[in-house]
């Protein structure tokens, strides 16, 4: 197995909020291989945005990395404290694009200038050569008449075009890793398909490694090589896309998949999870998902499960994989997925 380009080890991130301490990430570990797309799936409050923001030093002022490591380029970048250190990484080696293209772009400056600025800052290009390269990049991301649109303002672009501009700005410095935080959630489904296709093409063209944050499992199935499922600041399941979709092991993943209308049967109620994610201000004994899991074991409330190995590429943090655990039947939807997989494998 090759060395991963990014490796996160037991990361703990805390925030100070209204005088109390909130543990947003409670010991997450994952790795990103060269050239692959890793999707991080989670709902609000799962910590997926916080986790990736820590990779580029963009945690809010009241947040910090409490323990653990983020290994990139042979260094532990979780140790970085100054802006100067982060600027060697942010935008240059690791770039990030966000959900709302309108707020990511400066409405008072032309689109071309915003890209040229990045080029001047990180690659030392000046004037005409910066402009030439910027036009090149704009056309590369599929903006027609790039030379003309170079001098237009963000509001003159449609939502999908704006997101392309944002991607262009991120790609301007040939980063090694591109983090996409819900890049298509605010876009119509037809535009979403185009943006996903664009990112895929750029990935092939530039050998990018991509981290895709989303809550949309359809998008995950479409883009991901590997999937990490997050719940309450922890990664509860990690595996290839096929493994996580067709052979999921964690009850939360089961619940997530079973609640999708695409996989539901008309006329019958969808599998739904009652309650809400836990309060991250207090320490959570055991499995964070236990209170909402109708088939939780007593040990789920007492001791936090370790990662159990399902395959060399698939791990899950659930006591159900312990040999001592009783056999639990996943919901019908999951069983159907398993059957489908067994049928499809050669």
């Amino acid at each position: 197995m090759n060395e991963p380009i990014l490796k996160v080890l037991d990361l703990v991130i805390k925030f100070s909020l209204r005088g109390r301490i909130l543990t947003a990430i409670r010991g997450a570990s994952l790795d990103l291989q060269h050239g692959e797309t890793l999707a991080i799936v989670g709902e609000s409050g799962s910590g997926k945005s916080v986790l990736t923001k820590s990779f580029i030093g963009m945690l809010d002022n009241n947040g910090w990395v409490d323990s653990g490591a983020i290994m990139f380029d042979g260094r532990d970048i979780a140790e970085y404290r100054s802006e100067k250190e982060w600027l060697t990484i942010r935008g240059r080696k690791i770039a990030m694009i966000f959900q709302d293209p309108m707020t990511a772009l400066n409405p008072l400056r032309t689109v071309g200038l915003q890209i040229s600025e990045t080029l001047e800052l990180h690659q030392g290009l000046r004037g005409a050569s910066a402009k030439r390269r910027a036009v090149e990049i704009l056309s590369d991301v599929g903006i027609p008449d790039a030379a003309g649109r170079y001098s237009q303002y963000p509001h003159e672009f449609s939502g999908g075009m704006r997101q392309r501009v944002v991607i262009a700005t991120a790609m301007a410095c040939n980063p090694e890793i591109l983090i996409c935080d819900e890049p298509t959630t605010a876009l119509d489904v037809t535009i979403q398909a185009q943006i996903i296709e664009l990112i895929r093409r750029l990935q092939r063209q530039y050998q990018l490694s991509v981290i895709y944050i989303t809550h949309d499992l359809g998008v995950v199935a479409s883009v991901a090589d590997r999937v990490a499922v997050m719940y309450a600041g922890d990664i509860v399941e990690l595996g290839t896309a096929e493994e996580v979709f067709y052979n999921s092991q964690h009850p939360y993943t089961w619940a997530l998949l079973s609640s999708l209308p695409q996989l539901g049967i008309r006329g019958q109620p969808l599998y739904s999870i009652r309650g809400t994610p836990p309060n991250l201000f207090s320490d959570i004994p055991g499995d964070a998902f236990a209170p909402r899991n109708p088939r939780a074991l007593k040990i789920d409330f007492e001791e936090r499960p370790p990662y159990f190995t399902v395959s060399p590429t698939h791990v899950a943090r659930t006591w159900l994989l312990d040999p001592r655990a009783p056999k639990v039947e996943p919901p019908e939807t999951i069983l159907a997925m398993r059957r489908k997989w067994r049928g499809a494998r050669p």
Binding site: A255, P261, Q262, R266, P269, A344
Partner: protein, 318 residues
């Protein structure tokens, strides 16, 4: 969602509805001569992308937006434009709306008790304080919340719970027809299932009719009986849900369906999305009309297109 046999009498009829915004000189046409019916007991879906006009239609029905032309008939009576006070009150009680964003659709400074009772205070549809409290309690229980929540404020609840408070607020009026404007788009994935199940359950128990406005085709396929696809203020196709998904005719519908990702990696590998090009229609000689190409299946197109659609549908049904 509802497999109830529908009576032939439409509950809601929309004829050539037109809604415009902006200055009198150059108005922006948000809804452009739209016509459809909704039958009692069914779930009617209205699907479109942003800016298609679907929300505007819903708001025109509940009289939040003014109509510039056309009629909206409820039980055969015109409810748009200027109507009598009594009819206005009736419409307020019988037609209710559920909104999209649970974070914005509740009054943060009011207790849940007031929020849910607001409609009751307006229509005075209760027999005294004790009766009102009982109705609020029942509405909260109906949506799966605890009656003790009535004395709390909205910020103390999660998104899914807040959306359910919004549903309780509509339910307490004892409506017949509920327009759900993207009720689950702003919710987390696992909470969506809760709310969908709740809506289905309420429909069965209270014999409600729904108009479900959405942009998510997967959800629409799951819960609606009939669905209309709307683009830039015009409905381009309308059919029974399974018919539309099984035999889509209009190029826009086809493009929309091709773009929807499926939570199934094997399926995703094979899917190819294509973009809808409005230029594929030539309306210079024959203009587009709204016609029924198969019982219950309507499409917007000119004569040559409609002919080819009819052939496709007949092929399919053979």
């Amino acid at each position: 969602m509802s497999t109830a046999a529908r009576t032939q009498e439409p509950l809601l009829e929309v004829h050539d509805l037109r809604v415009e915004f902006g200055t009198r000189g150059r108005p922006f046409v948000a809804v452009d001569d739209v016509s459809f019916d909704v039958f009692e007991g069914e779930t009617f879906g209205l699907v479109g992308e942003s800016g298609s006009g679907k929300t505007t239609i819903g708001r025109a029905i509940v009289r939040i937006n003014e109509t510039a032309g056309g009629d909206i008939l409820y039980h055969g009576r015109r409810i748009n434009g200027i109507i009598s006070r009594q009819l206005d009150r009736e419409v307020t009680q019988k037609i209710q709306m559920i909104f999209q964003d649970p974070m914005a659709s509740l009054n943060e400074r009011a207790k849940v008790d007031y929020i849910v009772s607001e409609g009751l205070y307006n229509t005075r549809n209760y027999k005294g304080e004790a009766d009102r409290q009982a109705k609020v309690e029942q509405a909260l229980l109906d949506v799966g919340l605890l009656p003790e929540f009535a004395s709390r404020f909205p910020h103390e609840f999660s998104g899914g719970q807040r959306q359910r408070i919004g549903i309780a607020r509509a339910l307490v009026m004892e409506p017949e027809f509920i327009i759900a404007d993207e009720p689950i788009s702003a919710l987390d994935v696992s909470i969506r299932a809760q709310v969908l199940n709740l809506l289905a359950d309420l429909q069965r128990r209270k014999r409600l009719t729904y108009m479900f406005i959405a942009h998510d085709l997967a959800v629409v396929r799951f819960i609606t009986d009939r669905v209309a696809v709307i683009r830039k203020g015009q409905i381009v196709e309308l059919a029974r849900t399974e018919e539309l998904f099984g035999c889509p005719l209009h190029p826009y519908t086809l493009s929309l369906l091709s773009a929807v990702p499926s939570p199934d990696p094997l399926v995703e590998r094979e899917r190819r999305a294509f973009v809808y090009d409005p230029g594929c229609h030539d309306y210079s000689v024959h203009g587009p009309v709204w016609a029924e190409v198969h019982p219950g299946h309507f499409v917007l197109g000119n004569e040559p297109e409609l002919d080819s659609y009819r052939r496709t549908v007949d092929e399919r049904h053979r």
